[in-house]
Symmetry: C2
Subunit: 298 residues, 2 copies
């Protein structure tokens, strides 16, 4: 099975989970026993902080592979440690893949065609992520290097259609002369871009990012985007609940995966207990809540 | 002088040049004597290719500091060599700054606020670029970490208002219900974002990327964006000429810088001669052509 959408939906069924774990390593939020690996804190330099990140993320990856279908390393948090952090990103992608996770590189790249080709090579070919998030602002020619790899090489992409942040309306919700919102026109483009990328599951390897913090819009986009897998950020720390998000699943209870980053990674800060057990408990709760909502249609 | 716009326009006057050199290292296009440093080509691995890039870019930086006001490393071409390439990016930024170039990190990043903070830290604080290109799709909260550094720390940003690629019309030129195009609404946002970032030059440290391949639109945006420095890609290899681009300068012949990447870097491929002399000749020609066009208003 080589099609990315097929691999993603197979993992959802096998693990009975829609949970994507965002890897957003933040030294200040890490448990004291991990921070202790860099006693001088961030002033100790990027190598020491990267060692903390490595220990923290490796333990999490080892503990959650039966609960989490995919991990989503957020490039920004790795780049914030410079080339040391970038190397850690490469290592964590390899480690996650060896543990059976799908890897969605949260790079949100977007550029003209020749440059987009270099980004696709960087994250899908060289680092070896299964999929990457992309920004649609440049239009079709900026997406083509990613689309080609979705059509021909079993890779996937998730296009930023409607993001989860408060200011997302400023551009994404502008009303066009035809009455559609700009992000609805991007949804139309996503359907066009999905041509030639559908798997046996009936889903495309061209997905869409649809913020869970706008429940009505997310449900509406589910309707506009049949056959497009949705990646839904905003669960947990950003405020969305399983009820808010229920509308993103199709009638079979699939077709979407939901990301949580800080609410799982740093669960110990609200729940207490050992940080790894707290993270696992939070991931299991999220899995169960989403599975219950998704199963209504089954 | 700490304001980024002031530093940029001062460099334009001092060097009598609007030329930005894009650093897009591509092994296949490099001259044979540079490629010879990696006799097995790209199959030799990222370290060997990075050595070629380092030699090539260092020689260029050393030869062009009186002709070129700023360099614009294109992150994609460095990421295409993984963490090795990312380290080279860090080194090249440091080397360029030590030679008196301003550095515009062509990262085109964009994300929700907390993540954008990590990207701003990565490229402006840690790597130490003077400015960074950013994607506006997320709206205000995704720009705020960059804006704060423009207001308080002498840094700059260039917002992708209208890009140079053929498909840029698909989203950027959608007509809104008010009759404006989407990219014109982004131009309005840029003016709002520029609040508190103006220097003694009368220009803001919040700039805009306006593709030179759409001459009418570029001139129109010059009018819509008084006081906003424009970064104009598309010159040379992408087809724009100095005449096409003339409209981006203000009445004093300033307020815009123009990027060329491949047409300078790989000038030897069309002009012949030693590659470094060919690059310098091409940069000098570009400087003279733009200065002549810009000076019409002086």
């Amino acid at each position: 099975m080589n099609n990315f959408a097929d691999r993603l939906l197979e993992a959802v069924e096998r693990k009975r989970s829609h949970v994507v774990l965002g890897l957003d390593p933040d030294f200040d939020l890490m448990p004291p026993d991990v921070q202790a690996l860099a006693p001088d804190g961030v002033s100790a330099g990027t190598e020491a902080v990267a060692e903390c990140f490595r220990a923290f993320l490796s333990d999490l990856l080892g503990a959650l592979s039966d609960v989490v279908v995919a991990v989503k390393p957020q490039l920004a948090y790795f780049e914030a440690l410079g080339s040391t952090g970038y190397r850690l990103y490469e290592e964590m992608v390899a480690e996650a893949r060896s543990l059976g996770y799908l890897v969605i590189a949260d790079a949100k790249r977007g550029d003209i065609g020749s440059t987009a080709e270099a980004y696709a090579r960087a994250h899908l070919d060289l680092v070896g992520a299964d999929a990457v998030t992309v920004n649609p602002w440049f239009g079709t020619d900026g997406l083509e290097p990613f689309l080609r790899r979705a059509r021909d090489e079993g890779k996937g992409l998730f296009v930023l259609v409607k993001t989860s942040n408060p200011s997302s309306a400023e551009i994404q919700d502008l009303v066009t002369v035809s009455g559609d919102l700009v992000h609805e026109r991007v949804a139309d483009l996503v359907l066009r871009w999905s041509d030639g990328t559908y798997g046996a599951s009936g889903y495309s390897s061209v997905g869409a990012v649809v913020g869970g913090t706008h429940p009505g819009q997310a449900q509406m986009l589910r309707g506009l985007l049949p056959g497009i897998p949705l990646l839904v950020p905003g669960y947990g720390a950003q405020g969305a609940t399983a009820e808010d998000i229920g509308g993103v699943f199709d009638a079979r209870g699939t077709g979407a995966v939901v990301n949580s980053s800080r609410a799982i990674l740093y669960a110990y800060r609200t729940s207490g207990g050992h940080w790894l057990a707290a993270a696992r408990a939070e991931a299991e709760l999220m899995r169960a809540a989403l599975w219950a909502v998704g199963s209504r249609g089954r």
